[in-house]
Chain length 426, copies 2
């Protein structure tokens, strides 16, 4: 591991990495599906074969992290065991089984002059992935990039450097079996933070940046990047219990939306409830949440019904708890719910619970979020649940990709125009 | 016209403009097609009704530009006459007649758990358009943004300020007729260049920037923008005459590709020709070009056949002439042509002329340009010719939109998920 590099050295390392990636990407764009799948399956075998080396490298990472006093949650994300190694290998095979997004004919038409047009999917090019602690992201993201014909430049956190290095060896062994340029998946060979600064400004050699990690990482990437970024900063998601909601469905869906996993970006953070439902629906919803260990913060009208609820402060409506805490606000109706969501949502995923189909359509049209849901849990905000097979992240941006970013979203397109000697009239 | 503003004043003007645009965009996203079309048709009438005012404002712009000594080409682009005013009005009506890109169901599917997914087109939000000299871009771009449900912030060159102001009045009169917020189309109310600097960093209130103008403008926008940009910097386009080319088709298509209009981004700048065709095909191609007044710059083997050709220098292969000049290079075959294009193309539009279908497919797959063409002129690189009805520009970027940027490319999407109480399993 290179730990101390001069700034000149880092600039040169990054430049080399970038131009190697660009060359590898040009070749990879033309590699047939079966060859990419062969590489993915061979990489899965290589991961299984090097389980011992991966776990040993990971143990060294964990030991170094323990010395520096890593937090419990980060430590858990860092650790690899035989099950997690097998899950990585299985993940590669799953991606091999997904359809190839490259070469899809997205549209075709003919013009009156006989010109035939095709819009055909092509890879984006080079993707930089910056991630924290979970070393298995290297396998997952590298494989998604490979399948979509993109070269990947990986940058894990310094705490997972040795683990990522071993995983990369296995991925590159897979590339070698299929005869694909090893530079199709590279990692930044230094833990120096300045290297990330370079990556974010290499707009000639990098086409998109995917940050996977906490808010601090994403804020830094957003502030510094001169390259488009697939990102979501927050998941302040709402579930709105409308006047037409079935009480049992409301209780079950809210419980799942908030508590299935509290730490994921699709978790509901705020429940809005029609004021007419405070007596009929709220107690059932709160009982289910409290039984699961959730703290309730409510406005005054919620507190009037649920005396042990904490009184919500203004900042509660703008807080992503990522924890067993929910804020609940009573609203006068659909319009007020839409206003609250427009003002406080992070435009990730928002849901309405109602049997009133008309109200549901108004909500689905008016709420300006990447994912809008009727009568289901916001925790379905996930590429796998959408049927994308896998995702590299979720985007709340409006540009290029919105919502789960799967293989299709990792492609661009070009137009093929076929003629028979047409010349354009003056 | 505000000509001298303090920097504080400009910052405040731009902030107001941006937040007004964001509010207008939120409302515009929900406006039905017929209401948007009503606004476009009313704006067309208003443009016709204010022909005298528009032409008077334009005359003042031209007089001021003459005083500063404007160039002939710029002066021609600046001038509005009754024909050009009518063309603007007609352009608005044409856009009213195009299908609404908002609300299109781009994909729909159901998952085994019964959840129903729809991917639905929504507007991008707020679009900043920065253009030079041609004041009619204000009408054209404003109308495309309106039809696609986006709020527009227009910034013309200082030389067209008064003309754009009059055109904007007519557009806003159209908005008023349909009851749409006047802030759906705004212009920057100062000619101070610092205002553009603000626009390019207003990433909270502006979703995409479209620069329309010369290389200087596009370079400045690219360097300064913190917002995604739809752009092409160069159109260094190639027409490759392959060994299998019909000589007549080659001569006609090359002539059109180079000489139909030399100043547009889809014009061919370099012709590549198989060395085996130097005797059989080259004289016919060159004769047609020379008769149309084109200067020939060729490599040594071209010069051997065409003695009056200028010997091309290295920089000729990287030059966008935008003029009646062509560079011609002999290549050993398809592979060499692909190598030259990979090294020198600006990835805008590249064409192959051949009757060899297999060679054509290799070319269409391998050339990494927004538009790849078989047996037709590169001058078809245009949204109108693609059947898009209209375009706001052409993008050589790979992110979000590539090639002609029409109404569909001015939209993003969201996912609507409809369920019946589904909760996500652990």
């Amino acid at each position: 591991m290179l730990e101390t590099n001069s700034q000149t050295e880092i600039a040169s390392i990054m430049q080399t990495l970038g131009s190697q990636a660009r060359v590898a990407a040009a070749a990879l764009a033309q590699v047939p599906t079966e060859v990419k799948n062969q590489a993915l399956r061979a990489a899965a075998s290589a991961i299984r074969d090097s389980e011992a080396e991966i776990i040993a490298a990971n143990a060294a990472d964990v030991a170094a992290a323990d010395e520096r006093g890593i937090s419990g949650a980060m430590r858990d994300r860092l650790i690899l065991n035989p099950d997690r190694v097998e899950a990585m290998a299985k993940g590669l095979e799953d991606i091999a089984n997904l359809p190839d997004p490259v070469g899809r004919v997205m549209a075709e038409w003919e013009r009156p002059n006989g010109l035939q047009f095709q819009r055909v999917a092509v890879p984006l090019g080079v993707i930089g992935i910056i991630f924290e602690s979970r070393p298995n992201v290297a396998a997952d993201a590298g494989a998604l990039c490979l399948k979509s014909g993109n070269a990947a430049i990986l940058r894990g956190g310094s705490e997972s450097y040795r683990s990522v290095q071993e995983i990369l060896k296995a991925l590159q062994a897979g590339l070698a079996v299929a005869g694909i340029d090893a530079n199709a998946i590279q990692m930044i060979p230094t833990t120096d933070r300045a290297a990330v600064g370079h990556l974010l400004t290499m707009s000639d050699d990098v086409d998109v940046i995917v940050p996977r990690g906490g808010k601090g990482l994403i804020e830094r990437v957003t502030a510094e990047s001169r390259i488009p970024v697939f990102k979501h900063l927050d998941g302040i998601n709402h579930t709105y219990v409308h006047a037409g909601a079935n009480p049992d469905m409301a209780a079950q869906v809210v419980l799942n939306a908030k508590m299935r996993r509290t730490g994921i970006c699709g978790a509901t953070e705020t429940v809005l409830i029609d004021k007419n439902l405070l007596v009929s629906h709220l107690p059932g919803i709160v009982a289910a949440l409290q039984e699961a260990g959730c703290e309730i913060r409510g406005d005054a009208s919620v507190q009037a019904i649920i005396p042990d609820a904490v009184l919500a402060k203004d900042e509660d409506w703008d807080t992503e708890y990522l924890d067993a805490i929910v804020s609940i606000r009573a609203v006068s109706g659909l319009e007020a719910a839409l206003e609250h969501i427009a003002a406080h949502s992070s435009h990730h995923t928002d849901a309405i619970i109602t049997d009133d189909a008309e109200a549901a359509e108004v909500f689905l049209n008016a709420v300006d979020s990447a994912i809008v849901v009727h009568n289901a849990s916001t925790q379905y905000a996930d590429g796998g649940e959408f049927g994308f097979g896998a995702e590299i992240g979720i985007s709340t941006g409006r540009f290029h990709a919105r919502g789960p970013v799967g293989l299709e979203q990792l492609t661009s397109y070009k137009y093929k125009v076929r003629g028979s000697g047409q010349t354009r009239p003056a």
